[in-house]
């Protein structure tokens, strides 16, 4: 695992100018998209474009300056990618709110709130970078993070505070502020916990037990942690009816377990446990069963007309079909016909107006972001950083897969936000903190190592 540092390590370039140029390009694309919406829908460049565009530009410049000062070696691609995705989300929400329709998707879209939350998100991003100078400090908070994560996760179940919206009890109402989705923050705390915990226990968990067909099974007594996480995930599913978070949490844990132990048996055990849990949930709960029926027969007329049936999913598919390869153009389709087009279904809404072309570009941006995160994980110098960066990156990829796969009927639909695009403060905030953590770790990983003092007796500087 350890390698002797070589004196002639090739120094990663900071590429700050390139980053600034890409950032400017991302903001320019978003401003162009705003203008496009305004021209298509009102025949004029929207009056708020300068506010939105310059606002976003100023925010990103501030984020860039913080990054340049406090994490100068960070991966130059991460911030511009997030800026562009976040900006496109803002444009889609703006576009939905401009629709003259009286449908809820048009009425409930609120670009000004989303811009405000983007501002708070970038503030959190900056504060994280400024105050968390060394992310390894988090390793000392392993069990605190675990406890905080668990408390956040179950907080919607507290009487009076917890609220049930659209059938899922995942909200906590805070008087004077509104509702927050604690699960969004819980996932960050839990990934920190998983990373710290697995670093400590990975050697034990990697011990081989019995061998069954080519696979080394872990020892039975080491099954504890995976069973507990499984239990918590099922608890979330049962008590809060939140399929998405449950799947997100468990999948991320299994992936991190695999990265920590290199044992594919954990992945197989994880999948088996998940399938077992899903079948059980399907038999016990009607809504899980119905989601599965909808997945298999989305076009079925009976399911289409049923309450909580396939109508929402089909509206998304209609939107994507109507958009076709090039899309209708921003402001020229009818994304407001899709229920929740501003949140869970923002992906098909984007697909209608930007077409297959736009969605491929969007998926490519997510993929790039995830791979830059994983690259950080590979380059990181200590196991905790590797696990944390790997876990956060996988979390992002897994979340995109679950929600985008769900709304495009690749997998059964479970509700989750589309990172950085969907309307909602909690998710935006937690994802910006996630990005700050990745940026912090990528800065640490790319920073040139302290010069080894060579030829000083037998002392050798080891690099982990």
């Amino acid at each position: 695992m350890s390698e002797v540092a070589e004196a002639s390590v090739t120094m990663p370039a900071k590429r700050r100018v390139a980053q600034l140029a890409m950032l400017a390009f991302a903001v320019a694309i978003v401003m162009g998209a705003y203008a496009n919406v305004g021209l298509a829908m009102g025949g004029a460049i929207p009056s708020g474009m300068l506010t939105y565009g310059l606002g976003l530009g100023a925010l990103m410049l501030a984020a860039y300056l913080v990054l340049a000062r406090f994490a100068p070696w960070a991966d130059p691609l991460i911030l511009p990618l997030v800026t562009l995705i976040n900006g496109l989300g803002l444009v889609m929400i703006f576009r939905l709110s401009e629709s003259p329709s009286t449908l809820p998707s048009a009425k409930l879209a609120s670009p000004s709130t989303q811009l405000m939350w983007t501002f708070v998100g970038i503030l959190m991003f900056s504060l994280t970078l400024i105050f968390l100078r060394d992310h390894r400090a988090l390793q000392r908070l392993t069990y605190t993070a675990g406890a905080v994560g668990l408390i956040l996760l179950i907080s919607p179940l507290t009487p009076f505070l917890g609220q049930e919206i659209n059938g899922a009890r995942i909200w906590v109402g805070i008087p004077g502020v509104g509702q927050i989705q604690p699960a969004e923050f819980a996932k960050l705390a839990l990934v920190v916990f998983f990373a710290g915990y697995l670093v400590a226990k990975r050697d034990v968990l990697a011990l081989a037990g019995r061998r069954l067909l080519f696979i080394d099974l872990p020892r039975a007594r080491d099954l504890g942690p995976v069973l507990i996480t499984w239990g918590v995930s099922l608890g979330v599913l049962v008590m809060q009816k939140d399929l998405g978070s449950s799947l997100l949490l468990f999948g991320t844990f299994v992936a991190m377990l695999y990265i920590a132990t290199q044992r594919s048996s954990w992945v197989i055990i994880g999948i088996l446990l998940f399938v077992g849990g899903a079948i059980m949930a399907g038999m016990l709960f009607n809504h899980v069963q119905q989601r599965f029926n909808v997945y298999l027969n989305p076009g079925d007329p009976v399911l289409f007309d049923a309450v909580g049936g396939s109508a929402q999913l089909m509206q998304g598919l209609f939107a994507m079909g109507s958009g076709g390869i090039l899309g209708t153009g921003l402001g020229q389709g009818h994304p407001e016909l899709i229920p929740l087009a501003f949140s869970d279904f923002i992906f098909p809404a984007t697909g209608e107006e930007l077409g297959l072309t736009g969605l491929m570009a969007l998926l490519m941006m997510y993929a790039l972001l995830v791979e830059r995160g994983l690259r950080t994980s590979v380059a990181a110098r200590d196991p905790f950083s590797k696990l944390l960066a790997g876990g956060l990156s996988f979390l992002l990829a897994w979340q995109v897969f679950i929600i985008v796969g769900g709304v495009t009927n690749l997998i059964p639909l479970t509700g989750l936000v589309t990172p950085f695009m969907s309307q909602g403060g909690s998710a935006l905030l937690s994802n910006w903190i996630l990005i700050a953590l990745l940026v912090r770790m990528s800065d640490a990983a790319r920073k040139p190592p302290p010069q080894a003092i060579q030829n000083e007796g037998m002392t050798q500087v080891f690099q982990r």
């Binding site: 209609f318 994983l374 495009t408």
Partner: protein, 486 residues
């Protein structure tokens, strides 16, 4: 730890690859299936996304226009003249359209290939595409006069008038009617509910009685029988004497063919013009039998019956009926039994006689202009058929003038104008009141208008029996005056 991280990276890439493949399947391969799904209401919103062109009459009166709207729909269709032009404009409902709205749809919504160049220019200049405007040949005064007069009779019926020299339709009214605005709203439930209501009504307000259905023409058909008789031998004329018994014996049947009300027709030997003036049945039944089925059918075909016709709405086929025995020919020759005519076909017979024997193809669309007013298409009158020689036409014209001046159609007289016409009273089922008909044209020496009026066996005023001379002729008079006095 880098090994599993790299494998996790590959797994993430695989997830994104799956998402990308799936999106391609949805938006490229299966896109059509989702786009065209009946439950995809986008297609229905798109109907209202384009500013459809106007439909006008006589170049000035607006019959249908699209007004910009606030809300879910960009443009809403309105019909300022409402019921008056319902059967001409038709309606533009969330899922269908009728009449001109349907037949000129591609022009009105701008999707026609004729507008391709304009659409290309719009794309570059950023102008929204607008549909072309359709101007109808209708004379608004004549239309209004026809509507009011027919409405006053309180009965169902049809009036169609055309310019005999060009074929341009000057008026087309069918009663009862409906308000196309009610069927062109965007509220599907409301529109379809109203449509079902109208479609179920016994009086069939959705039907354009001028072209959508046929009726027995009654005595107006004697004009055609006379035409066949004159064409058969050019030496015959108005003064040719024909047999006119009180009851015409029909072969192979005990039933005879009487005159109207069983009356005698002159002395039993009358001139052709007298038989037409008094609308005797027996001479024309006998003429029809003498000429035979084939000659009668041929003459009717020469006036255009049986040929496919669109004005541009397609017109129901008029026909002399299947070939049966001589008795059937006798009855058909006075416009009863198997003979079935649309009011438009009857107007075409009048127009053919007025236009020296040549029937012009009837048409409704006068001109199509793009949004800027440049003409895309203008009506080009064309001959539909050569029905009779100009000599025969001249003889028939004089006889029809005599019918109005001296005969059953005196209520169609217009001071200072020679009006040519023929009444008809078609019996339907036994005990049912008859349909009243009138066909005419004026002025006889230089015809400006030819028309047919049909008043259906009246359910409206029970007891008041309609006759061609009493009910239909006054309506025709008003319409002719509206055209001639302007």
């Amino acid at each position: 730890m880098n090994g599993p991280i790299k494998r996790a990276a590959v797994a993430c890439l695989a997830m994104f690859a799956l998402l990308m493949i799936n999106v391609n399947v949805l938006q490229a391969i299966n896109a059509g299936k989702y786009r065209d799904d009946a439950r995809n209401t986008r297609n229905y919103y798109d109907r209202y996304a384009v500013q459809r062109g106007r439909i006008t009459a006589g170049g000035k009166v607006i019959l249908a226009q699209s007004k910009e709207a606030k809300g879910d729909f960009k443009f809403l269709r309105e019909y300022p003249e409402a019921e008056l032009y319902a059967h001409l404009t038709g309606f533009f409902s969330p899922e269908s359209a009728s009449a001109i709205e349907a037949s000129q749809n591609k022009m009105l919504d701008g999707s026609s290939p004729d507008l391709l160049l304009q659409r290309g220019i719009d794309l570059f200049t950023g102008e929204p595409t607008r549909g072309a405007n359709v101007d109808l040949t209708i004379n608004p005064k004549a239309q209004k006069a026809a509507y009011d007069a027919l409405k006053q009779s309180g009965k169902r019926g049809a009036v169609v008038a055309m310019d005999p020299k060009s074929g341009a339709i000057l008026a087309m009214v069918s009663l009862p009617t409906y308000d196309p605005g009610e069927l062109s709203g965007t509220n599907k439930g409301q529109v379809f509910g109203r449509y079902d209501e109208l479609a179920k009504q016994k009086s069939q307000p959705l039907l354009n009685r001028n072209i959508d259905r046929t009726y027995p023409p009654g005595s107006t058909f004697k004009v055609l029988t006379a035409a066949a008789f004159l064409e058969d031998d050019s030496s015959r004329d108005a003064q040719t004497v024909v047999d006119a018994p009180q009851v015409l014996q029909l072969p192979n049947t005990t039933a005879g063919l009487p005159n109207y009300g069983g009356a005698a027709c002159g002395s039993g030997q009358v001139t052709l013009v007298f038989a037409l003036e008094k609308s005797c049945n027996t001479p024309f039944g006998s003429i029809g039998m003498d000429l035979g089925y084939d000659k009668m059918n041929e003459q009717l075909t020469k006036f255009g019956a049986g040929q496919p016709l669109a004005v541009p709405m397609s017109v129901a086929t008029s026909s002399f009926g299947e070939k049966e025995d001589q008795a059937a020919v006798a009855q058909a020759s006075i416009g009863q039994r198997s003979v079935q005519m649309t009011p438009l076909q009857m107007a075409m017979i009048a127009a053919g006689i007025a236009n020296d024997g040549t029937v012009m193809k009837p048409y409704l669309v006068n001109k199509i202009t793009d949004a800027k007013g440049d003409a895309l298409d203008e009506a080009d009158p064309e001959e539909f058929s050569e029905a009779i020689s100009s000599e025969t036409a001249g003889k028939l014209r004089d006889m029809m003038v005599s019918v109005v001046a001296n005969g059953t159609a005196n209520r169609a007289q217009i001071p200072g104008v020679d009006v040519a016409g023929k009444t008809g009273t078609a019996e339907t089922a036994d005990g049912q009141p008859p349909h009243a008909w009138f066909i005419s044209f004026a002025p006889a020496n230089d015809p400006k208008i030819a028309l047919a009026v049909l008043v259906e066996s009246g359910a409206a005023k029970v007891g008041a029996e309609a006759t061609g001379g009493g009910t239909a002729a006054p309506i025709a008079k008003v319409v002719m005056e509206a055209v001639l006095n302007q």
